[in-house]
Symmetry: C4
Subunit: 272 residues, 4 copies
């Protein structure tokens, strides 16, 4: 009798925490989303020296409330699942733990800087929000299109990196340490800054020949951007086109390219 009651509570908990179909499940997701956002904003504000000075106490209180909720949630998650160990050592399990720990560590071993870096891990919980976004069909379409052109994008990225290494070394030989190109990795950093058209301007070529090679790099970068754009666009379109047509062939007249929802052949009127 007792066991079935516990089981029922566990099932209820699972419904609330892990599922989003029941009203309580939805409410839980929304509250969690809001708390993560509040916690992110609180972490951000605390990193600003002037705000930390003025509202340090208020932010600490908010921090403790959120930590409390996250702790309860973490315990709830362990109770709700059938195999708790699997959850604890999963990607989200570790993030959930790291989201609650920093505050407790701070209590036992005070020390400001160490804390900040650990609490920032909480930001990774934002991916739970992305999980919600997954329900939006549009997001799925994006992911599918990107996944399909994955291989081509990888080849493209590899070529760009090889190009940057070669061009970076050339620029290091031309400009040298006296003009800010202190080493080959630094020079490769500059090449990527230039090729991607970011152009910080922290390092700039000073010799005429260096500026000439820079011009080539810039025009290259300006043109190369066409490649990933072309890949992704072609993927979006081909997917788009296929959604509307199926691969059926009319048994009577062999016409193809029928609409997905077609019941009769557009050419001979035969039942498909």
């Amino acid at each position: 009798m007792e066991i079935t009651r516990i089981e029922r509570i566990r099932k209820k908990l699972h419904e609330i925490i892990y599922e989003a179909d029941t009203p309580f499940g939805k409410l839980f997701d929304v509250i969690l989303l809001l708390l993560i956002i509040v916690s992110i904003i609180s972490v951000m504000l605390e990193s600003v020296a002037s705000i930390r000075f003025l509202y340090g106490t208020e932010l600490a209180i908010i921090e403790w409330i959120i930590t409390g909720f996250f702790t309860l949630e973490y315990i709830g998650r362990i109770i709700a699942v059938k195999r708790p160990l699997k959850y604890i050592f999963s990607f989200y399990g570790i993030i959930d733990l790291l989201a609650t720990l920093p505050a407790y560590i701070d209590l036992l071993f005070p020390g400001w800087h160490f804390l900040v870096s650990l609490r920032a891990v909480r930001l990774l919980r934002v991916f739970r929000i992305l999980k919600l976004a997954h329900f939006v069909g549009a997001s799925n379409q994006l992911v599918v299109a990107l996944k399909k052109s994955r291989l081509k994008i990888a080849v493209f990225l590899f070529s760009v990196i090889v190009l940057c290494i070669i061009l970076g070394t050339i620029m290091y030989m031309i400009e040298g340490p006296e003009h800010g190109f202190t080493s080959i990795p630094m020079s490769i950093y500059w090449t990527i800054v230039t090729l991607t058209t970011v152009g910080f301007g922290d390092i700039t070529p000073a010799t005429p020949f260096g500026q000439f090679v820079s011009m080539i790099i810039m025009i290259l970068g300006y043109g190369i951007i066409a490649v990933p754009t072309g890949l992704v666009t072609a993927e979006f379109m081909s997917k788009d086109r296929k959604v509307h047509e199926n691969t059926q062939v009319c048994p009577n007249c062999s016409a193809d390219h029928h609409r997905d929802d077609a019941k009769f052949c557009y050419h001979c009127g035969h039942t498909l």
Copy 2:
């Protein structure tokens, strides 16, 4: 008798101010357009210290003429519409009021800086020009294509913002306040500057690891730009492709979107 005359004047006013079909209506729109442009240029020039010093009086006179016309226009608009209150509290009603107020406020409560900020609101009237542009078919096509890919663009922007928050926090932890990454919001600002390939160079990574993460951010930004481009292009094209479908509606079952060469309804098999 008197009432019908007033009614006739009101109708005439409505025709001139709100409609663009009659010659006077068109003339009014063109004059309004020119005055808004002159007023914008005048506001711009007045913000330049040297011009304000030399031509301050001339600009003040132009300002008063434009304010006078805008005041008369505002009164005219109130008279011309049947429900003046609805207009007064509408978006354009408030902008129209704010376009005339600053000059009068300046007369009653002199004070330069306060005035400048209010007069700039007048710039929002430019949207009336955009309304004119709406008549150009091309603009409508642009708006339709953008509206259709609205949801996907929103999902994309949301993902970019989450990415920037996470990458910004990582960069804050790596570089820290001593290299200009004074706080997490500042670091997120830098991440957006870098990911969008703007690259001001007011803050730049100084540690080797920070520069390594920057390279990844830059290449990410360089590749990610393909996504909105792909989305919008696919939308532009899909509109284009609809040309291959005709506008016929099946006389039997009212299904539409038939292929151009369809002889039979794909839905019920009826002859088209």
Copy 3:
């Protein structure tokens, strides 16, 4: 007799200078092309202080040889055409004159700076090279695609400019002259630098709110770039698609979308 001989010379000259079908005509175009390139490089090198100091005399000699050829060519062009006045006051006529004048003016009224600015006009003759490029089919295709999407690009540019004026004024109000946003035109300049993702970094937002608005501007600019790309791509594709199919309909079976070079219906084999 004399007149016909002069007429024959004029005709020959016209063939050489204006046409590119005969061997001499082609040779003339190539020599002209080379001289324009040499003259451009010479103007460029002369603008570099150190080179002007070392090779000033050599560059002056090259300059006089090119000026001599351009003068002869100008006279030749006047003789060759039937209506010399029409040529003299045409766009290319004026450029041709300006290409020869500076050297003579320098002889009569010595004065360095004034000369440099006039000689640079010679660069506009490069458009004659572009005229040659016109023969390349690829260039025509580019021009046609750009011309077709002209109206949409104009609407897009107009919207971007309006957006920049409004955002520039907002940034001027937020940041103010003390952070480098000295006037509204300066602020609009900054907005364009940011929106187009150029990002010089000569002016950067210093207030937190200014940086927040900057982030929005940057993400806007990053997304807006999709619009012209989408327009031009759609134009390239639609043109591409139309080239391959014609609008013929088979007189026997009414099938359409025939290839341009089709002589028989792909569906029923009937003669088209």
Copy 4:
């Protein structure tokens, strides 16, 4: 007998070094790939002053091991091919030699800087890795699409360069040496930096008119990027579209590129 044994060894060597079909051939390629990567990283690290100071000896040992392998490989390559001279004077033959020489030269004529510049040539061997990438189908598709739009990209690049020369000269005349536009080539460098939206900020316009022209250049650059993107996308798609055509060849007249649903040859009307 001896000769056939040598011949057999040579054949075996050719299989291992030049081919990638046998297990040993694959292993050799992977080892070579790893060694090139290690050698690149070692060259990079050695260029960083602090690392060279601390781990100079270790890097020198790695350098000698890699040089040893590369030397053996070079000799092996000469032995394995039938026409050694053709290999020695080929592009890869010269690179392979340059990859081994620097270490030996350093032994005979010590001198640091000269060595660094020569050893960097070793980076060009990365192209052997690219050769491996060629086996990936995706890479071939990219190369084909880029090759097909080669001519159009050339016309586009030529127009951009002409535009940059003209705009650069105009900016030189407007801004002049006192604002950093020290010469026309420098001004063209700035124009390319701006047009490609890189925007280093090492040189920025200071006069109001210069800033106005800059705005036009930036908006131009922002719009022009649509052209290569459109070209490459159209090429990617057109390849895609060919799917709708089949590979059938008319048995009567040998015409190809028939529609997927074609029953009769479009050229001679023969049944397919």
